[in-house]
């Protein structure tokens, strides 16, 4: 339940951030210089006031909040004593301040908010610049008065010890403290760090984090239109955690290497990471970047980035019912061949066994050297919602179709091999399936433009009537399609056919910045995701009842609220790319502006 609540909370925050598109202004000053030079994580929001106003005035956010309140777990916690107490305390604070809490928060953070973590002292500092000194003092004095008044009424000792430090007022509590100076407020957990930050603030010193080389380089690349900016000093993180296991170059999992090997390699050397959150046309964009020299990629990771970093993913395929496409550049043949450099002993043994077995299947041709090398490194993984014919058994749980799409370098030779092995695999499946009472697959061959389609169909059992609650097996009609150079291996014949007719080749679409090379691109369509959830609504409700102990009504409310929340979004795009100097991960979320979540 907690995970779901967290998910919805983050969804709310995303929607709140989106609203900043209306209010975003140029970033203000740089507070990084007041943080210690040893700060490892630093983040800043230049215009938090816009975030608060945007959240208050955006109708989608209020709709989202209404939906969140209907979710049983959230509703329950809002009816709980703790939340009621919190609400009461908030009202008391508002009455004392003479303004609503969002207005007070906006005044307190008017000129920006920054946070930093210093591993040397284990200190965390939060620095905010208020609208003016008067507003700051009003708010802090009122809050301190309230807290101390409450302590006194309960017969407790005062929470804060108030002292002067240079020109600042310092309020010390048992495990944290805060200080105000002019229109600045500093909150921290370590007095040493607090003192040094106050000194830097009062002296307007420039010897803090902003004077370090990594931070200077990182901030030089900062764009002006970010809502929030993040800096992580990876050099310092490595120095603080010199664990050889983390930074050793031998992986034990080929799957992990396939997915993240290149990133692992980049993080092994890069000095820092920066992150920027921006509003774009109709949504939000998060960009994480690390300095990266693609020309100096180690040879064993050529499988991930291509020779000298030139490996580029093709533009994502879009088919009817599209749910998700991940397009990537990965040279599997290279990865197999470089296994000795990439993986530990056990992984190498396992790969060697797999190589022998697969080579046998492919008529003795070496799997890594001859079979995989015949496949283009441009690959795509496509997921699409499938449709079901009414005259055939319709599975009760409806799964989407999955397809792996790639190009064959020499289709004349490779097609036969893959076709034969596909047919063998189906035969094997039928034998094993028959032993376990599973339905059988019937193979069919069809010519299509530029190639052929080898499809299968799950044969209904004798006497089986049209059924809308058939076994999960009826989601599958494994197929292989060849269209010119293209090879599609799919869990459904519908998807194989759709992909085969969608394009002639896996063309590489230029990135927005022509210097950039896209290594991986992911495209998610929320509309079909919602349809898929609705297809399986009854099962999700049942699972919710069994797992959460909910009644049917509660489970229905929770699932329907989830659908409404997801409907707030239209699509999402993620890209991993390299430029001449950086490795970038960009995630864009597009808000569904056309539909109210209540529709």
């Amino acid at each position: 339940m907690q995970t779901f609540a967290q998910t919805t909370f983050y969804s709310g925050m995303l929607a709140a951030l989106f609203s900043l598109g209306i209010y975003a202004e140029a970033p203000a000053g740089d507070a990084a210089r007041y943080f210690p030079a040893t700060t490892i994580i630093y983040a800043e929001i230049d215009q938090p006031v816009d975030l608060i106003k945007g959240a208050q005035q955006n109708p989608q956010i209020s709709q989202l909040l209404d939906e969140l309140k209907t979710i049983p777990a959230i509703k329950k916690s809002m009816e709980g004593k703790d939340f009621q107490k919190f609400q009461f305390a908030l009202k008391v604070v508002e009455a004392k301040l003479g303004q609503k809490w969002p207005e007070a928060l906006a005044a307190l953070t008017h000129h920006g908010i920054s946070i930093g973590v210093d591993p040397v002292s284990n200190g965390v500092g939060l620095l905010m610049q208020a609208e003016d000194a008067e507003a700051l003092n009003n708010i802090t004095n009122s809050l301190v008065e309230l807290i101390e008044g409450d302590a006194k009424s309960k017969g407790q000792e005062p929470h804060f010890e108030q002292v002067e430090y240079r020109e600042a007022k310092v309020f010390k509590a048992s495990d944290f403290g805060f200080a105000t100076w002019n229109n600045w407020i500093l909150i921290g957990n370590k007095s040493d760090v607090g003192r040094s930050m106050l000194d830097a603030l009062i002296d307007d010193s420039n010897t803090g984090l902003s004077s370090t080389e990594n931070f200077r380089n990182a901030s030089n690349a900062k764009t002006g239109d970010a809502i929030a900016w993040l800096f992580i000093d990876i050099d310092a993180a490595r120095a603080a955690n010199p664990d050889e296991n983390i930074y050793s170059n031998k992986a034990d999992d080929p799957g992990g290497e396939f997915l993240l090997g290149g990133l692992y390699s980049a993080f092994h050397e890069t000095p820092y990471l920066t992150g920027e959150l921006q509003t774009v046309d109709s949504g939000l964009k998060l960009k994480l970047s690390v300095p990266f020299d693609r020309s100096s990629i180690s040879e064993e990771r050529n499988h991930y980035f291509g020779p000298e970093g030139t490996g580029s993913a093709s533009s994502p395929i879009y088919v009817p019912g599209h749910l998700l496409t991940i397009s990537f550049y990965r040279d599997l043949s290279q990865m197999f061949q470089r296994a000795g450099d990439l993986f530990d002993e056990k992984a190498n043994d396992d790969l060697a066994k797999a190589d022998v077995g697969l080579s046998t299947l492919f008529s003795g041709r070496n799997f890594a050297d001859e079979v995989l090398s015949g496949i283009s490194p441009q690959m795509q993984f496509v997921i699409a919602r499938q449709t079901f014919a009414e005259d055939k058994p319709i599975p009760s749980i409806k799964l989407p179709g999955f397809a792996l799409v790639t190009e064959l370098k020499d289709p004349k030779v490779s097609r036969k091999e893959f076709r034969r092995n596909f047919i063998n695999a189906i035969g094997f499946f039928n034998i094993v399936g028959a032993m376990n009472g599973q339905p059988q697959l019937e193979i069919d061959f069809e010519s299509i433009e530029g190639g052929e389609l080898v499809t299968t169909n799950m044969v209904p059992e004798v006497d089986q009537k049209p059924d809308t609650e058939a076994r999960i097996n009826y989601n599958f009609s494994p197929s292989i399609a060849f269209s010119d150079n293209l090879m599609i291996i799919s869990t459904t014949s519908e998807l194989a056919e759709a992909v085969a007719s969608s394009k002639e080749s896996l063309s590489v679409e230029p990135a927005e910045d022509t210097e950039d090379i896209r290594n991986t691109a992911m495209l998610l369509s929320v509309k079909e995701l919602v349809r898929l959830v609705l297809d399986n609504r009854e099962h999700l409700i049942s699972q919710n009842m069994l797992k959460e102990g909910h009644t049917q009504e509660e489970a229905e409310t929770e699932i329907d609220s989830l659908v409404k929340i997801v409907r707030l979004f239209k699509r999402s795009k993620a890209v991993l790319s390299t430029s001449e100097t950086t490795l970038d991960f960009t995630l864009e979320v597009e808000i569904n502006a056309d539909k109210s979540p209540r529709e």
Binding site: G437, R471, L546, K547, G549
Partner: protein
């Protein structure tokens, strides 16, 4: 009330319990009825039960053979979902949901009894649909005619697969099913010969499973003459089952098992006590409902020979607590816990089913019981009456920790708690730091970990 284990008068034992004074019919006795004939009762059920006579209580439950349409609709929906995954591992969660929500507790309790009696394990059968179908057969006949149930189960695909009898050919008759029907299902050990088994096995030749359904292959059936229990004829499988059911020992065997299940784990298996009910069972044509009506409204059932004389099975232990306070929780986790306690529904340990009684308890399972309850009670998903335990207590007029402990003890325990133990319990709960809710849950956890709660 009579005392002494060996001197129980059968006439007294099976006569209907008739409280002489209103104070002779107490909440403790109603709670006892629901613990044995269902999975414990909530406060409303206890109050309502007090307004009925012991015979009325038993008759109502026995005639309640149809689940309410609301529960049936939700249960069917959950079953569709569970069966759609084709994974039998999800079936226990489905059944425990039904046990928690049933409007026919005795029907479910008897279904559980027959599940242990005609033990069939999904570990071997694998097919979720077949296991589910068998469960429905058990429920359909749970309070009906025993003979009909044996006939239905003898052609049940899950049972035949479990006993390696999915294909039975005349050249090599499979004796598994013939042996189990005599030894475990109908007659009990010592009431048949090896020759009877061999001859009965010949009756079942030609019985097969095709496409998950029972099929009679006449080409594989042995049509020759057989001699079973001194009867001679060209018996078919169905006739073979009838011959077994006609044996007088069968009624004694089934009555004995039911007495063990409903009255006491040990000490009551005396022929003189069993005989009157066995005669009634035979005379009724093996009607389970009539037999249970006598048994569950009898003096013996409400006597000290029965109260607190059973060890709670893991299902009784966990579902009993939740039902007593209208609790709900994560049923997947609950079933993982039941597995550790030794009772995984749809997965009995072997063809003999769960042995029960003292076998439920050892140092390891006792600790596991306490751990399961502690882990369930700290979960957010565990709610009582749809909300917190403190809210639930308040709606029942229980506002302090002391009152709550007294209330929990009264509802949950089958045997009285000694005063020193009670005081210690209250003291431990009062010393607990945290909210009222946390202290209540802690108190409940301590009570169900007591040796007294392990007795039903």
């Amino acid at each position: 009330m009579k005392s002494g284990q060996t001197n129980i008068d059968p006439d007294w034992a099976w006569s209907a319990f008739q409280p002489e004074q209103p104070e002779d019919w107490t909440q403790r006795q109603v709670a006892h009825f629901y613990r044995r004939c269902g999975f414990a009762a909530n406060p409303e059920m206890l109050q309502s039960g007090l307004q009925k006579s012991p015979l009325q209580l038993a008759s109502e439950q026995i005639s309640n053979r149809q689940e309410s349409s609301q529960v049936e609709q939700v249960s069917a929906s959950l079953a569709r979902s569970v069966l759609a995954t084709a994974d039998a591992k999800n079936l226990p969660a489905w059944w425990t949901h039904r046990l928690l929500n049933t409007s026919a507790p005795l029907l479910e309790k008897m279904t559980l009894f027959w599940h242990g009696h005609f033990a069939t394990g999904a570990e071997k059968v694998k097919d979720a649909q077949l296991m589910f179908d068998q469960n429905q057969i058990l429920r359909e006949h749970a309070l009906g005619n025993f003979g009909s149930l044996v006939h239905a189960i003898s052609q049940d695909p899950a049972m035949l697969i479990y006993l390696d009898s999915a294909s039975n050919r005349k050249v090599h008759p499979n004796e598994n099913f013939a042996r189990e029907i005599m030894e475990l299902f109908v007659l009990g050990e010592g009431n048949y010969s090896e020759k009877d088994i061999r001859e009965l096995a010949r009756c079942f030749t030609g019985w097969e499973i095709r496409r998950d359904q029972f099929y009679f292959n006449r080409f594989q059936h042995d049509f020759d003459e057989k001699i079973i229990f001194n009867d001679t004829g060209t018996f078919t499988g169905e006739q073979g089952v009838d011959l077994v059911l006609e044996q007088p020992a069968g009624a004694e065997f089934v009555v004995g098992k039911l007495m063990q299940f409903f009255i006491a784990d040990e000490g009551l298996q005396h022929p003189e006590l069993i005989q009157p009910l066995a005669s009634q069972f035979r005379d009724s044509g093996l009607e389970t409902g009539a037999l249970l009506e006598t048994m569950l409204s009898s003096n013996l059932f409400y006597s000290d020979y029965a109260m607190g004389r059973k060890i709670r099975s893991p299902v009784d232990f966990a579902i009993g607590l939740l039902n007593a306070f209208e609790g709900t929780t994560n049923l997947l986790e609950l079933n993982r816990g039941l597995d550790e306690l030794g009772q995984r529904l749809f997965y009995p340990p072997n063809v003999k089913g769960w042995e029960g009684g003292r076998n439920w308890i050892n140092s390891s399972t006792l600790l596991a019981r306490a751990n399961l309850m502690q882990s369930l009670l700290v979960r957010d998903e565990t709610r009582f009456g749809g909300g917190s335990l403190s809210q639930y207590c308040k709606t029942h007029g229980v506002t302090s920790l002391q009152e709550a402990i007294d209330w929990f003890v009264e509802i949950l325990l089958a045997v009285p708690l000694s005063e020193p133990k009670h005081s210690e319990l209250v003291q431990r709960c009062e010393h607990g730091s945290g909210s009222f809710e946390n202290n209540l849950r802690r108190g409940l956890g301590l009570i169900v970990s007591l040796p007294e709660y392990q007795l039903a």
